[in-house]
Structure formats: C-alpha cells, structure tokens
C-alpha cells in the first residue's frame, strides 16, 4: 500500500505536494495568515502518510496557530483510533509551549503514545519536572497528572519522588492529583507498594474534602487490606462525607461498609437474620423486641455515627451515591431502620434505563429476604409496554418475590395482562412467574393451574410450551387430583412441537401412568412411530416412558418397549445409546443382569420430590449489593469480600484520635486552626478521652523500647521534608516557601512535643539522656490535667513565635535556649542545622565543575529529584566533584575499530536505586559503519546491568554517548559483559574504583558525631599520615578527598577536622570519613559497616593526601 501511494506521488501528485508545501510556507510568511486556509490546502490530500508529513511541517513551523491547528488534527486522528505515533518526535518538541491549549493537546498525545515510544518520551520529562515547581497550582497538578500517566517504567523513581512531594503540596488540588498518581504508579510498578502506602497514610490524614475521595480510592486499589490505616481517620471521614464530591462519596461509603463489618458487632439479632418467618414475628411484636434488643445490644457510637452521617446522602441527585448508601444500610443497619432506603431506591426507578436495570437487580435481591420493604411500592414495579425486555423481566421477578396471600389476586390480575403481551419472551417469563406464585402460595395453586391449562390452547408456541413445563412442575406437588389435566395435555401433544414441552408431557405420562392407564400406552405407540424424528431430549423421555410402562403394564407394552429399545440402540447420539443399554439391562430380566433388576421398579418409580421454584436472585446475596459482581452474579476481579460480623468487637479505642495535624494549607495560622479542631475532637465523650489516656499509660511501658526508634524516625523524616522544601526555595528564594517551611517546622515541634507527651515515664530514656528528667516530670503532670493539650500547644506556640520573629536571622535560633530541657533542644537544634546546611551547601553543585563531556540532559535534570527511598532518612546531596577522567573499556585495536570509554558520572542512577550510573562513549574508528551495537543479554558475573538501548548504526569516525547503570552490590568486583556489534562480540569489563560505589549525603555535624558514635570498634579504621605542606589548606584536603570518593562535605565547627559523609549505592550503608589535622600529621578515620570497603578507601585516601601533586 505504501509502495502504491509512493508510486502515485511519483507521477501524479508530486506537483501538488510541492505546491501545497509552498503554499503553507508562503502562508506562514505572511503575517496574520489564517491557518484554516492552509488547512484547506492540506486537506486536499487524502493519503494518510502524506497528511502526516504536512502535520510534521506545521508542527515545526514557528507560528503557534499552525502548530495548534496541527495538534487539533492529530487529536482528531487519535479520537478516530488512527495511528499517529510516527509524529512523536515532532509533537514532543512542543511540550514546553507557552500556549496552554497547545500544551494540553500535546499532553493528550503524550499520554496516548508514550508507552510505545519510551525513549522519546523521556525527552519531555524534564519539562514536567520544571512544571512541578511552577507557582501555578493548575500547572503543577497537570504536570503531575501527565508525568504519572506516561507509562514508562524507567521513570518510576521520578514519579515516586514527584508524588511524595506533591502529597505535601500546599494546594489540595495538587494533593488530590497526587492521590490519583498513586494508583497509576502502583499499576505501573507494584513493587513500590510499601512506599506508596506511606504516602497514602499521609494523605489519609488530610483534612481537605477534595483529597478524601481520591485517597480512599488509592487506598482501595493499593492496600485495601490495611484496614489499620483507617482507624484514626474513621471519624474524620464520617464527618467529612457530606461535603466530599459525589464520586468520592461512593468510594468512601463502599470502603466504610467493609470497614464497619470488621470493626462492629452485628446489630441483627441472631434469630432474626434474613428469615422471612422471623420477619413476620418481628412485625408482630416490634415494641417488645425493641426493649429486648436494647438490653442485649448497644450499638457502638462509631457505628451509629456512620449510619447517621450517610443518611442525608439518600437525597443525593447522584444515583450511585444513593445506591451506595442503600447498600451500606442493607449491610450495616439494624433491620428496623432499613425502611428508609426504600423510597429512595424506588425514586431511582424514574431515572435512565440503565440505572433502572441496576437498581431493579438490587431490589430483586433485597425483596427475596425482606418483602415488607417494598410491598407498599408494589405498583411501581408494574410493567409498561415500553420497558426494555431486561427491565420487564426484573420487574416480574420483583413482583413474584413480593407476592403473598394478601396481594396475590392483584398480582395475578396484572400477570394476566402480561401473558397477552406481544413480547412473547416476556409472556413466557410471566408464565414461569405464575408457576412460582402457585408453588409459594398454596391458596392459589389451583387457580393458577386452571389458568395455565387455559393457556395450553393459546396460539403461540412458546406460551404453550412454557405452560406445559410449569404445569409439569406444579403437578408434581399433587398429581392424584389432576389426572384430567394430564389427559388434556396428552390430547394436546400432537400440536405441540417445542421439544422441551413434548419431553415434559412424556415425563408426566410416565410418572403418572397409573393415573392414566388407558392413554399412556397409546401415547407410547404414537411415539414409537415418530421416534427417529424427535429431538434428543424427547427421545430420552420416550425411552423413559417405555421403561416405566413396561414395569407397570407389561402386557400391553412389551413389544412396543422392545421396539423402542432397539431403535435407541442404534441411535446416533451416544447418550441415547447409553440410556437404552442401561434401561434394557435394568428392566428385562436375563442371566447377565445382576441384582439390580430386582429393584428396577423401585429405581424408576421412586416418588420424586417436587421441584422448588425459586428466584434466580436467590444466591446473589453472597455478593455485596451495588457491586459489579452482584450485577453479573460472578465474582469480578478486584472484588473485595464483605466479611462477616466479628463475634466480639475489636478494640474501639483504635479510632480515638490523639494527634491533631494542623491544616496544611493554612500556612502560618496553622497553629491557631488546630485548636478548634481539637476542641471538636472533645465532642466525643470525655470518658473516651480518659480511656485514651489510660491506654497511653498502659501502653507506654511496652512502647518503651520502640520509643527511641520512633522518635528518631520522626525526626529523620522531618529533616527529609525540610530539605525538600529548601530545595524548592533554593531555586527561587520566595517568601512563600520559606514561610511554608516555617509552618512545617512549627508542626514538627508540636509533633515532637506530643510525642514526648505520649510517653510519660519511660525509664529507658531517663538513662539515655540523663537530663531529660525535667521534661518527663512535666509531661507527667500535664497528662494528668485535662487542659494538657492546650497548655502544651500554647507553650510551643510561644516558642514558635520567636522562631517566626527571627525569620531571616536563623543563626539566632541555632543557639539553644538554656531553660529548656535537653531533649527538646536537641530536636530543635537538629532541625535548624539541617536547614542551615542546605542553605549553605545547596549552591555547591553550581560551583563544582560540571562535566564538559556529554552529560545527558536528563541526568542533570534528574539529579535534584533522586534519592534512594530505601534510606530516605538521609538526604542525598549533589556530588561535590565529578572527575572528568574516563577509563578505557575497549581499545580500538581489539574492538576491530570500535572503541569505548567509560566514566563515572557520580549521579544517582535513573535506572535503579542501587545502580551506579555510568556514561559510555563509543566511537567508530574503522572505515565502515557499525551496526546494532548493544550489550548482550547474558551478564557473566551476575551483576544487574541496565543496558543502553541498541545503537542501530554508528557511522565511521562518529561517536555516541550512552548512559547505563550497573549494580555492583557494593563490591569492587569488575562487571563483565559482552559488547556486541552486528558481526562481533567483545568481552569487556568495568572495574569500579571503590570511591565510585558511594553517593554523597548531607547531615548535620551533630548527626555525624552521633552516627560515628554508633560505628565504632570493628567498624572503625584509621591511619595516621604525614601531610605534605601544600595539602594542608582546607580546600586542598576537601578536593583530594572528594576526588577519590563520591562523598559529601559536612560542615565542621572545629577548624582542623574535616568531615565527609556518603552512603553505599547498593545497600545504603553509611560511610563516614573524618580527617583530623595535627600539624604535620593527619589522622584519617573511616567509620562504616563495610569493613572491606573502608580499608580500600583508607589506602586510597592515604595515597591521595600524601601525594604532593594536585
């Protein structure tokens, strides 16, 4: 096809193509040209590929309007499902356009095709990363939306980071977007689950109604089993529910339904569960039972809270919300409260056809168990001739379920109209329904039966057939009185052609042949004649009838039976052959037949139980109402089972809220805002709060051991967040961000205080930081009094006031206030220092020499965002120094013209958190092009290698730079792999210097000494060297050290001690280096768990520092 159109271009269209392009160019050169005219010129061409050429040209033009026009047409193509992926490079260039609409359309395109064009898609990532820091929240949010929608596995770490950052954004809209992004990332890479759960946990605490629905959705998708995350947010969610947007309400209600079923005890009395009879009893003695119930069962206030807060939502205009509330009541509410949902459900029947369908299905299930609910609304289920077939059938189902002695006559009258319906399938369904009513309500069985017999003379085949089948079932219940009906049916037999009906009549004849002794043999005679022409099910029944008659009336039917058995023996269907053989052995006594034939009569003529005609919705209640699984009556993927009520309620106090998070978007007044929230919390009875405190006291002793660690982790995460903030502020020192970090800081201190408050008498800690006794005693006294929380917050408030007062002058703050206890100081101090650190050192990478050799743009864009989530406690920083030396990978002689060099970029690797990032420069020094250069799949040493994408072609004398990642597992063992071209394979190896296996981190001096204190003994190695004089300056020491190893500089308060910190790439173990100068000697100390590494490092430092050359 391509060839063909190319041909046509060659002799036919070529001229016009050129003129078209010319026209476009002319147009674009005329100022204010109208794009539509050029569009018209282009639309002359029909062939797709040519059109795409035009589009490409339009996209590359300098005029916005042309680009926009092109994008609009591309979107048109996408909408039609046409492939526009080849335009990717041209489109992606416009991702940074100023024109909002153009940008949005490019986003649409990107999201659609990024998965197919992963490499090219990466080009756009940096734009989004920039946009993530835009002051406009809409732009931040849309950048995150698109970034997370690009399904390219390589950018998982970037997404992770962006989500974490957005989850703490000031704008609730951005946080909402972050919640959505969680699900996207999870579906892209389920391995991120644990980290995502952390973000979900954080977002669940969010007070904004905008976020609530989305984060619960993420929760449902990622970790629906982590019910423990809900406890603390349960009451908040209940209270917010009314104000959440309608879609969020649906999701939250479904989640809370599941939650409630695991946390509360059943409000239904054991004997009254789902039983029609007991329901009647319930109505009889409602008053009595209520009293009884109140004695036995007291509903959990939280259970009541949920029911109370969802009730108004029954008035929602959104049908999904109404349905969600209805199912919540169905599954959670006491039975006598159920009736309030009836009206709302019936109201939904006025809505669209599809809504009716789903609602009717749910009503059908409910009406089986609880007739009383819908009986007053019976007339709402009357069928109209304009209803769709599936709606009619459902209404019929419900009417049948609702039928009882009182209303059966009304219902039957209504059914009579339906039987005459022109929709014959519906008429047949009605007949079945009549049959069900007849069996369920014994008073009307005879009436129904007579009615059905009348229908046997109906002109329509299906109606008659259905009647026969239903009559057959009804007769089984009381056959003796109805021999005339059987006779009547035998007469009709010749006119009935529907196989099922014929089979049914034959079965009836056989079963009750004793009631119709004259007719049955005659029917058999007729059947013997037509046997070969009957359908299979009819044949089986003929055999059946013959056998039964043989046993009861062998005189008349012996020969007929044998004839039929012979016919059956040679039938084409093996079922019939089998059955014939079996029957023959059973009824005809001969020497071979064993003991079985003695019981033939008992086997064949055994009284059969009457079939139970029951609703098709009988078993649907195993599914939660309102779900897709319920609608389909099969379990859909992702269906979450509704658990049974627990016998004993789990601990209620888990839902008590202890820590009040200040509202984030409030900024500076956060503190003040948190107070009313707190008082609101008091809304829950005082006794609960007391319980809470008691519990704390109890819990504290067991928590002792975990105390210190939890505290640590809290402070660690703080430092991470803080530095994240200051990252932002470093790019643009806006007041906003600084105030933000201020407010965050405030929260932190608050939190810290609380943390301490929570553990009143921990002896462990007394021993640890001896001075802390003061705090303890105070917090003890605080927790004793009711006003404790307000006191503590006011106190911290004053402290914080001084914080914000000093504002710019941060130094002041670093000086601890002597009045305060040590523990508190330590916290504050730590934070301040880490803030200072970043202010001082974040510009560092700007001054460091940036590699002049091709460093992929992407990498440098990424560097700011990447840290390893595994050691999130420590903030990774930028490499202080990036060596430019490259090492040889492959010499051109051995590589037959292909030569390769590698270089450590010292950047965090984008391909994996535990990989070392490398840059490979491949050049072709031969005189012919090399093709398909790639790394062979098999890695000989077992390291995990992220290969670069195959280079399709490398021209002579050209070179190309690619990046790759290798996981060295923190060892200096060389990574060996095969570098392949189209023709050849070369074994190459990369031997990392030990210093390259590290990544720099920043920490405060205090932390450094603390960590160093932990890594003593085995983990410490040191050496004394004599320094050359030119190395004595601080600059040169720093330079020497960082050139050997990729570690970060730690600010030092002592003049002659230099400190450096890093972590290993793979395992994230700390590596701490300190150099103490004691003129002219110097002591190098390395503290790390990796002892092998430390000795190697030590050796290299020694050489570097004693070597006089710069």
């Amino acid at each position: 096809m391509l060839g063909m159109s190319a041909n046509s271009v060659s002799y036919n269209d070529q001229g016009s193509v050129e003129s078209g392009v010319d026209a476009a160019q002319e147009n674009s050169s005329i100022p204010g040209s109208i794009s539509s005219s050029s569009g018209a010129a282009f639309s002359l061409f029909s062939a797709d590929y040519k059109k795409n050429e035009d589009l490409k040209e339009m996209l590359e033009s300098s005029k916005e309007s042309l680009k926009l026009e092109a994008m609009k047409r591309i979107v048109g193509l996408i909408a039609k499902g046409k492939n526009a992926s080849e335009l990717f490079p041209a489109v992606v260039k416009n991702v940074a356009s100023k024109n909002i609409e153009l940008k949005k359309l490019v986003y649409v395109y990107l999201v659609r095709y990024a998965e197919e064009q992963q490499d090219l898609a990466l080009l756009s990532i940096s734009t989004f990363q920039r946009a993530l820091k835009d002051p406009n929240q809409l732009i931040r949010a849309s950048a995150l939306r698109v970034l997370s929608s690009i399904r390219v596995p390589i950018i998982v770490p970037i997404m992770m980071l962006a989500i974490k950052e957005a989850a703490t954004d000031l704008s609730p809209y951005v946080r909402k977007t972050a919640a959505h992004a969680i699900q996207k990332l999870y579906s892209l890479d389920p391995d991120q689950k644990e980290h995502l759960i952390e973000v979900i946990e954080k977002l669940l605490k969010d007070k904004s109604t905008l976020v609530a629905g989305s984060v619960v959705m993420a929760f449902e998708e990622v970790c629906p089993d982590r019910i423990d995350l809900i406890h603390k947010n349960y009451r908040k969610l209940c209270n917010l529910l009314v104000d959440v947007e309608e879609w969020g309400q649906v999701v939250i209600i479904h989640m809370l339904t599941r939650y409630a079923r695991t946390q509360f005890v059943s409000p239904w009395k054991e004997d009254a569960v789902f039983d029609e009879n007991s329901e009647k009893a319930f109505y009889d003695s409602e008053e009595e039972r209520k009293v009884e119930q109140s004695n036995l069962y007291i509903m959990d206030p939280d259970h009541r809270l949920l029911l109370r807060n969802t009730k108004p939502l029954l008035q929602s205009r959104n049908t999904a919300v109404v349905m969600a509330v209805s199912q919540l009541y169905w599954h959670l509410a006491p039975k006598h409260e159920l009736n309030i949902i009836t009206k709302s459900l019936v109201r939904l029947l006025r809505s669209h056809r599809e809504v009716q369908y789903v609602v009717l299905q749910n009503i059908a299930t409910m009406s089986i168990q609880r007739k009383g609910m819908f009986e007053p609304f019976m007339k709402s289920f009357y069928v109209r001739s304009t209803d769709a077939t599936h709606i009619k059938t459902l209404k019929l189902e419900i009417l049948t379920n609702l039928a009882n002695e009182a209303n059966i006559s009304t219902i039957l009258r209504e059914f009579q109209t339906y039987v005459k319906s022109q929709d014959k399938a519906f008429a047949a369904a009605t007949i079945q329904a009549i049959g069900r009513c007849a069996t369920n309500i014994s008073e009307v069985t005879d009436t129904c039966l007579n009615g059905l017999v009348l229908l046997l003379s109906n002109r329509d085949e299906t109606v008659v057939a259905e009647s026969v089948v239903v009559i057959k079932k009804l007769l089984q219940t009381q056959p003796s009185q109805h021999s005339d009906i059987i006779k009547h049916m035998a007469k009709l037999f010749d006119n009935i052609t529907v196989p099922m009906a014929r089979a049914s009549i034959l079965w009836l004849m056989g079963e009750y042949c004793e009631h119709v002794p004259k007719i049955a043999p005659d029917v058999l005679r007729k059947m013997a004649k037509t046997f070969t022409n009957e359908e299979d099910i009819v044949k089986l029944q003929i055999v059946n009838l013959a056998a039964k008659l043989y046993l009861t009336n062998s005189k008349q039917t012996k020969l007929l039976t044998q004839y039929i058995l012979n016919l059956g023996k040679y039938d084409q269907n093996y079922d019939i052959r089998d059955r014939t053989r079996f029957i023959r052995q059973l009824i005809v006594p001969n020497e071979k037949s064993g003991a079985l034939s003695k019981y033939a009569r008992r086997i064949l003529m055994a009284p059969k139980p009457a079939p139970v005609l029951q609703s098709a919705f009988k078993d649907r209640d195993r599914f939660q109402l309102g779900t897709l699984s319920h609608t389909l009556n099969t379990q859909a993927s992702g269906y979450l089972e509704l658990s049974d009520w627990p016998a004993v309620a789990p601990d209620q106090s888990v839902r008590n809220v202890e820590v009040v998070e200040p509202v984030k978007e409030a900024g500076a007044p956060a503190l003040r805002k948190s107070k009313p929230a707190k008082s609101h919390e008091k809304f829950y009875s005082d006794s609960e709060e007391e319980e809470e405190e008691e519990e704390e006291k109890e819990g504290s002793s067991s928590e002792d051991s975990s105390n210190s660690s939890s505290e640590e982790s809290a402070s660690e995460s703080e430092s991470e967040e803080n530095s994240g903030d200051s990252n932002r502020s470093s790019s643009s020192q806006s007041e906003k961000s600084s105030s933000e970090s201020d407010s965050e800081k405030k929260k932190k201190t608050l939190k810290n205080k609380k943390l301490q408050q929570q553990k009143p008498d921990s002896k462990d800690r007394k021993q640890k930081n001896g001075n802390a006794v003061k705090v303890e005693s105070r917090s003890e006294s605080e927790s004793g009094s009711e006003s404790s929380s307000s006191e503590s917050s006011s106190e911290s408030g004053s402290e914080l006031d001084s914080d914000s007062d000093s504002g710019t002058d941060q130094k002041k703050n670093t000086k601890p206030k002597p009045v305060q206890s040590k523990a508190v100081i330590k916290q504050v101090e730590k934070k301040e220092v880490s803030l200072l650190d970043l202010d001082d050192f974040s510009p560092a990478p700007v001054t460091t020499p940036k590699s002049s050799i091709l460093s992929p743009n992407l990498l440098s864009d990424l560097q700011g965002l990447l840290i390893s989530p595994t050691t999130s406690a420590l903030q990774a920083s930028f490499p202080v120094f990036v060596p430019e030396t490259s090492h040889e990978l492959l010499h051109r002689m051995t590589g037959k013209g292909l030569s390769g060099q590698y270089r450590f970029t010292r950047q965090p690797c984008i391909y994996g958190n535990s990989m070392v990032s490398l840059q490979l420069t491949l050049s072709n020094s031969s005189d012919q092009a090399l093709e398909n250069i790639h790394i062979s799949e098999k890695s000989s040493t077992g390291q995990n290698i992220h290969r670069f994408n195959a280079i399709e072609r490398l021209e002579p004398q050209a070179s190309v730079t690619v990046s790759m990642g290798i996981d060295f597992n923190d060892s200096t063992q060389a990574a060996n792999f095969q570098l392949c071209t189209k023709e050849d394979e070369f074994s190459v190896s990369i031997q990392p210097a030990v210093g390259e296996l590290l990544l720099p981190i920043t920490m405060s001096e205090a932390d450094f000494t603390k960590e160093q204190g932990k890594l003593v003994g085995m983990n410490e190695s040191s050496a004394t060297i004599t320094m050359t004089p030119e190395n004595l300056s601080s600059q040169s020491v720093n330079r020497k050290v960082v050139s050997v190893a990729n570690i970060g500089v730690i600010p030092s308060s002592q003049e002659n001690i230099y400190r450096f910190a890093g972590k290993t790439v793979s395992s994230g173990s700390l590596v701490l280096v300190s150099v103490a100068l004691k003129d002219p000697d110097a002591v190098i100390t390395i503290n790390t768990e990796k002892t092998v590494m430390s000795s190697m490092l030590l050796r290299q430092f020694k050489t570097a520092l004693t070597n006089s050359s710069p």
Partner: protein, 418 residues
C-alpha cells in the same frame, strides 16, 4: 476504574475512542456488537456485558452508545451515572449530543474527557467548573481564536474547585439580575381497559435558571411542603434546614440547574387530566380490524390540555391502517408498526377522534392482545399535585433581583391498556 470509552453510532461504527490507562484495542467492542445483534430493539442491549478480560458498561442516549471499558470491580451505577453526566455535559456544550456535533467538536470533546476523568476516576464533572477550564465553543469565539491565536483553555484553576461552594464560580456579574424557577410535574399512569386507574403517581422537578451577581443566598418556601414525599437535591441545598423547617436554602450555581426533584406521596389521589374512549377490534378470519379512538379532558382544573401526542405499537400482523383524524395528523410506519397521532390541543367542545380500519396480513391470525396507547400532553400553569411556591428571598447581596415562577404539568409514562 474506567479504562476506555468508545462511542458507537446507530449503525454500529465506533466513531470516537478515548483511553485513560493503557490502550485497549477496539476489538473489545466486538462483544458489544454481538449483544447488539442479539437484541431485538436498541434498548434491549444489556447495560453490563462481561467479556473474558473486561466488562463493558454502556448507556444509550441520543442514539449513541457510550461504551465504557472496565477491568475490575466498580459499582456499575458509578460508571452509568458518570456516562450520563458526560452526555449531559456534551449537550450543555454543543446544544445537541449527536454524532455530527461530537465529530465537529472532537478537540473540545477530548479536552473535556481529559478533565472529567483522571486515570479513570472522575475529576471535574461540575458544569460550572468545566466551563471555566474549557470554554464552550461559539462561532464568534472560533473566529476570534483563529485570528488572535488565543485559546479555549483557561489558565487558572477554577475557583470553584477549592471553595466550599464548588458549584459556583466567583466574580459572577450581570446587569439584569434574574432568577427563574420552573416547577414541572409529570404524571406516570397505567389506565386499564375500562378506564380505571391501575397506578398513578406524580414526579416533579424544579429547574432553575439563576443569573445573579455575586454570592446570593436564596431561600425558597412552599405553601404546602407536606406534599413532597421523597426529594433529592442539588448539592447546593442545605439539608439540615430542609429537615428542620422544610425550606430550601441554597447558594445557587450560575446558570441552569436542577434544584430539586420530588415524588408526591402516593396516598394522595392523582387527578388524571385526560380520558380515552377506544374501540379496537379484530375479527377472526377477517383481514380488517376496526380502530376508533376519542380523547377528552378530565380533571384539568380549567386549564387547556396542549401538545397532545398519541402513539401506539400495533400488533405485528397489521399491514396498514387507513384512518381519518378529526383534527391533527397521523402517521403509520408499516415497518415498525408504530402509529402516532399528533393531536395538538384538545377542544372540550369538539373532542378529537381517530377512526377507520386497519388491514391485517392475509392469513395472519387475530392478534390476541390489543395495543397499548401511550399519551403525551402538556398543561401550562398548573402543578397537578397542587404544589405552590410561597416565596423566594435573597440574602447576601444588595440588589433586587427579578423573580419568576412557572408551573407545568406533563405526561410521563402515561399508558392506556385496551
């Protein structure tokens, strides 16, 4: 949640597709087409269709199927409700929701769908918010945009998204401040052969068109609020106030919206405003049948019954109908066997009637059921339930708005069995 959306027209072609997650091949719609083939009527396609790997949930509106592709458990009503909301939005933007309108505005449609769903979860469905994000296309704007290169897309986050009244945008300004309320009631009824009522109920809505400056706070009270049995509100209505005082108190969205829909309690007897006298008979063995209809007003509280339209699905055996109406026009479609008679206004002095004969296919047996007759009508200035608005007050703003209330009664699903 919602994976993809396909729009299928009446002839079974997919004319638009949109994916929110990985691309789902359009071949998934084959299962839908199968179901479509099996269904005798377009409405008979089941709304939920399971396929081996996906679930298809479809709604049919304006002869377009909106087919959503789902991969895992989700409340089906959630999807259905959303799809209807999409249709409403299209209608709001383009005036009509037809294949042509969607194709003409495919870019706006795509931008809308992009904003309405993120990763398959509804993001912004409120019309007021969407209109701030993406301005509806008008001819003038299209021309202006082409010349100036400006766009249809808003740059700021709609204020509504973040405020406590997400349905209303800020900074609304009008020179004429007006608020109109339409009370529209529909009668659903089934009348049996002899003219007695089998079931009848009244469903009502109050649609509003509010164009008021600033942040007005309105209250609307009724003379007889007890009539309202079951109500559902626009999110703007304060539920507590209704519970306590039976007063509607709300900050309205800007423009057109449905304030309230209600159901009148079934205890009240419903007045049936029209009656039908019919005589439809087929004789065994004859190929002709008699057909006579006469309409008349009944319990109309003195108001005229207008826009009357009678339609009936005649039995399959009917070949043709030759009838003469005393007023209006009638049509009979020999393929679908649908008879419809546009009557117009009923004149109590001279009752409209339709008389004549219908011819049956030769050899076809007598139909065993007479056709049902569906009737549509309108009565202006009357709420058949007797509901009356007492007063409308505005707080929060200084100016005096122009207020208007209109009543109307319509036939809903009004059927007469013969």
């Amino acid at each position: 949640m919602i994976h993809s959306l396909f729009l299928v027209n009446a002839s079974g072609d997919i004319f638009l597709e949109k994916h929110w997650k990985s691309v789902v091949s359009r071949s998934v719609c084959d299962y839908f087409f199968e179901a479509l083939e099996r269904a005798t009527e377009p409405e008979n396609v089941p709304p939920v269709i399971p396929t081996p790997h996906h679930f298809l949930i479809n709604v049919l509106r304006h002869r377009i199927y909106f087919v959503a592709v789902i991969q895992s458990e989700v409340p089906p009503l959630f999807v259905i409700e959303f799809l209807h909301r999409v249709v409403d939005t299209f209608q709001d933007y383009f005036g009509v929701c037809t294949e042509a309108a969607i194709k003409d505005n495919v870019v706006v449609v795509y931008e809308l769908l992009e904003e309405m769903l993120d990763n398959g979860f509804p993001l912004a469905t409120e019309s007021n918010i969407l209109k701030e994000l993406i301005k509806p296309p008008t001819i003038l704007r299209t021309v202006v945009n082409t010349i100036t290169g400006s766009t249809n897309v808003g740059e700021q986050l709609p204020t509504g998204q973040l405020s406590v009244v997400p349905w209303r945008r800020t900074g609304v300004k009008y020179t004429n401040n007006e608020a109109y309320f339409d009370v529209v009631e529909e009668i659903d009824a089934i009348i049996d052969k002899s003219g007695s009522t089998i079931t009848a109920e009244i469903q009502g809505v109050i649609d509003a068109c509010v164009k008021l400056t600033g942040m007005p706070d309105l209250t609307l009270s009724f003379m007889n609020p007890r009539l309202l049995d079951d109500v559902s509100f626009h999110p703007c209505v304060r539920f507590k106030r209704w519970e306590a005082e039976r007063i509607l108190s709300f900050i309205p969205p800007d423009g057109n919206f449905r304030l309230l829909s209600y159901h009148v309690s079934s205890q009240n007897l419903v007045a049936i405003p029209v009656y039908v006298k019919h005589n439809i008979s087929f004789r065994e063995g004859s190929s002709q049948g008699r057909f006579e209809l006469t309409l008349g007003p009944k319990q109309t509280m003195g108001k005229a019954v207008e826009s009357v339209l009678v339609s009936s699905q005649l039995p399959r055996g009917v070949l043709n109908a030759s009838l003469s109406p005393s007023q209006g026009t009638y049509t009979f479609d020999p393929v679908t066997k649908l008879l419809s008679w546009d009557v117009g206004k009923i004149n109590p002095q001279k009752l409209p009637s339709l008389k004549g004969s219908v011819s049956l296919q030769t050899g076809a047996s007598k139909p065993d059921e007479n056709p049902t007759i569906n009737i549509q009508f309108k009565i202006q200035q009357l709420a058949i339930s007797g509901l009356k608005v007492n007063r409308l007050d505005m707080y929060g703003e200084k100016y005096k708005p122009f207020k208007g209330i209109k009543y109307m009664t319509k036939a809903g699903k009004f059927q007469v069995r013969t």
